[in-house]
């Protein structure tokens, strides 16, 4: 054990640091409450321990130990399950839902982070084992920490679409953002209030792939949720008129967001929508098929 002491402990250290570093960028997806924090750091610690012992185990011809890695993968799938369940339970209390797709996306991220932690600690301990230089292995570890942050950074709506302000107006009782119908609002007082306090956004897809992606209802719900999280919403249980809604122009695939925010600031709203993550489960790429390219012109 002693001769691998530094190898293993450096691996565990860097792996756990990696998990901590990735937790830092979490607040948007998850309110960072202390218990969730402890859970994820502990699991990150276990993941990094597994990564760190892999090489010493092989060297010692402890092949059984390597099969534990497979067990670990199973463990981390449970993390996804855990996150999915708790977010789905919390969803009940959300006035503006995250939606299943967003929850699934967050749960997958939490799972994937543990694999990145394993990779970081594996790389660190491997460097230490083969070169015997603690400083070099620290540098490799830090490189992998930065790499994992880079890998976890997905695309956002601003990459695939142009986001512009849209004019809110009524056609009779029908609320519209530019040319896109949102909903029928019956009460004159509510119409006045919406015109006074509401905001509209038009999201224009840059190509057919983007159009197919924002066509997904889960993606659209995520846009409404993020906008309402950042700007607040005047919706309450008895004012369904103020529900943020995202609707599509059937002809050109543009989508419109309507929201009655607590903070009426169009610049902030545009920035918020541009930063909505493109959900893994919503991503579509028809242009990657030959049939899709034929239709694109």
């Amino acid at each position: 054990m002693e001769k691998y002491g530094l190898t293993i402990s450096l691996g565990i250290l860097l792996g756990t640091l990696d998990r901590l570093y990735m937790l830092r960028s979490d607040y948007r997806q998850y309110p960072g409450y202390p218990h969730g924090f402890v859970t994820h750091v502990s699991l990150g610690f276990i993941a990094s321990a597994l990564g760190a012992v892999a090489i010493p185990a092989i060297v010692e011809k402890q092949f059984a130990a390597v099969t534990f890695l497979a067990l670990a993968a199973q463990q981390f799938r449970d993390i996804r399950e855990m996150e999915r369940k708790s977010l789905a339970a919390l969803e009940e209390a959300e006035l503006i839902k995250r939606g299943h797709d967003y929850i699934e996306g967050i749960a997958r991220v939490f799972e994937a982070r543990n694999f990145l932690v394993m990779l970081t600690s594996l790389a660190t301990s491997a460097t230490m084992f083969f070169f015997g230089m603690p400083l070099l292995s620290l540098i490799v570890g830090i490189f992998f920490i930065l790499l994992s942050e880079r890998l976890m950074r997905g695309r956002v709506i601003g990459h695939i679409c142009d986001v512009d302000a849209g004019r809110l107006h009524f056609k009779g009782p029908l609320l519209m953002v530019e040319q896109i119908d949102i909903m029928n609002v019956g009460l004159p007082v509510m119409r006045e209030k919406i015109l006074q306090d509401g905001l509209g956004i038009i999201v224009k897809p840059k190509n057919d792939n983007a159009r197919a992606t924002i066509h997904n209802m889960g993606q659209r719900q995520a846009i409404a949720h993020v906008a309402a999280t950042i700007l607040g919403s005047k919706k309450d249980v008895d004012t369904p008129e103020f529900t943020p809604l995202v609707r599509k122009d059937v002809d050109n695939g543009q989508i419109a967001l309507f929201i009655v925010p607590a903070e009426k600031d169009i610049e902030s709203l545009i920035a918020a929508v541009e930063r909505v993550p493109v959900l893994e489960s919503a991503g579509r790429a028809p242009l990657k098929s030959k049939a899709g390219r034929i239709a694109s012109d």
Partner: protein
């Protein structure tokens, strides 16, 4: 998506609406809007305007 439910109708003109749903009559447009708003608040539902002077209250 969950199903929508038509809870009630508020109207001034009774020629447009018949059937097996709660129908509330009002004398003026102001009264109609007020009744519809009160009902919607109570039922946590939304008021829609059919465009022919009939308000429907729908739970989404």
């Amino acid at each position: 998506m969950r199903g929508e439910e038509l809870i009630a109708v508020v109207t001034i003109d009774d020629t447009y609406i018949k059937g097996d749903i709660p129908i509330f009559f009002a004398k003026t447009e102001e009264e109609q809007a007020r009744v519809a708003q009160t009902l919607a608040k109570i039922m946590q539902a939304m008021v829609h305007d059919l465009g022919n002077g009939v308000y429907v209250i729908v739970k989404h």
